[in-house]
Symmetry: D2
Subunit: 180 residues, 4 copies
């Protein structure tokens, strides 16, 4: 901003998100997420933009990893709370996704996140683990915890997802998942 | 990912976040945010990474703007819910910040966001407006709404912030704001 | 508890809740709520137990009233937070209900409440006003505020409801509204 | 309401809530809650009004029990969501309380509850168990689950409490705990 301010640069690369969306529409959720972990499907663009990745998926559970960096910072000099929300949203939503058969979609209706400890570049890698709490026919709920390698908790949350049965491959969730 | 997948690139530039954090510690919240809008203080790194910016700040109110882009997408082919959370977190937190005198800090304790309509690259620019609901001595609450230029609502939320009186300039919120 | 403790007594009377549930299944939500305000349908049993009542209903809006009493108290000597939650749940849920045509039901999926000021017997009558925020086909969201006669805020919240189209009169929401 | 409507009656008895509030101000939280379980301190008035009771308390954990009854019903013919909120608020708040030394108070800042399964008089006794998630110096968070005797989940939630150190016995939390 001022002449003296050292400026930093980072270049992000991502793939067309419709590749994954189309492939995913015909796959059970767990298979889809595991194909993404295996690199057979592209990571979602926002994961590249923010710099996080899906590392584990099991029935009812999904884990993402992030290394907190300066480019995640907010004005107060720590990582922006939106980063924790983004990781937990991914982890909780994917935990729901692991329970869905092929052809069934979902969308996140709401999430609530508590930020309990400041995250800085000295925090080291964090894992966001999502776990399903309730899996109904129309609604699923999940919880998520963001922890460092020593198990210290930085944020936690819950989410409510709506399950969209009989979602057609012709109308992928991308274009109308939410409830307008 | 596969040879055929077209790949996209974007380069992000940001400034040292401690410049703004140090300047902010001695300023009333509203002055600080207006200095950021005027370009006299650097935008926070995450705002550059995700591509959003503070556009308005008044007593009890702050507004951010974003243009939804493909690099915000999640695997289902729409904008990731974490982007709406990040914008609303910023807008609601800054709405609280506008009410703080110099030397008083705050940190976000929790936020809850409802995602009510899918966001795509065809949605056009969105504004996240945060407004204070309750301003107590220790706790402040705020609400936020994410709308397009026609006023259509895409997400809304509420937040709880803790107010940190007598925060010293020597110990900026960056290093211990949250409650460990 | 001890011999010296003065003990208080209150007698509560209520009607069979299935009378209202059956009548409501065939009525537009707003007509149903107005019939309750007019005394043509019985108040719900919990409203009698806790001592609150529906006083206003319009399209997208519903208001309940309560007089805080000693029998609402929690162990710390003020009104229990559950009372504010109950009032706001009623007000927000009924705000959604006012938007529903005959034969369409709803159920509350989640609610989040901030308790911003202690309520005591000296607070005087409180009004919980619910207002719809988003009315989609499957999901509706609403907000609620609990205020005294001077407009001072004691609690506020948001809720997410799922809309249950084609709910049959033979299977009233009482027996399966939530998503098991 | 109509002449034919059978009407039901219940009489509630409670004790002066200031007895417990005064005793509690000088006791560690866990001792206070256990004195209440043992009947050495009176149950809070709302617990009598709604008909629930504290049955277990350990470091970081508290459990309440309720038998769903017709007087808990809402207009749709199942138990009102406010009852689940009230139980979870109690369980989560008391889980925080178990971690507090004598002279330290707390108050609930917010809670969020998911209602995942309808509760009726045929559900049988329910237990709300609160467990602490994060215990900081200023903020504590807890989670709660409401289950039947077979472990089936009916509601779950999280809460944020503010810890009030050095609360004086002369100013019990009853008169100013929340942040006005």
């Amino acid at each position: 901003m001022t002449a003296a301010a050292p400026s930093r640069t980072r270049t992000v690369t991502w793939e067309d998100p419709h590749i994954g969306a189309q492939a995913g529409a015909g796959m059970p959720g767990l298979d889809y997420l595991r194909a993404m972990i295996a690199g057979k499907l592209p990571a979602p663009p926002l994961a590249r933009t923010v710099g996080f990745s899906l590392v584990e998926a099991d029935e009812g559970r999904a884990t993402f990893e992030i290394e907190p960096m300066e480019f995640h910072y907010n004005p107060s000099g720590a990582v922006h709370g939106g980063v924790a929300c983004t990781l937990l949203d991914s982890a909780m939503g994917c935990a729901v996704h692991t329970t869905l058969p092929a052809g069934v979609g979902y969308t996140t209706v709401e999430l609530k996140v508590n930020l309990v400890r400041a995250i800085t570049v000295r925090t080291g890698p964090l894992r966001a683990e999502g776990r399903i709490i309730h899996r109904g026919n129309r609604i699923a709920t999940a919880e998520g915890h963001l922890r460092d390698r020593d198990g210290r908790l930085y944020a936690h949350g819950t989410t409510t997802c709506i399950i969209l049965p009989h979602a057609s491959g012709k109308n992928p969730p991308s274009e109308g998942a939410r409830d307008s």
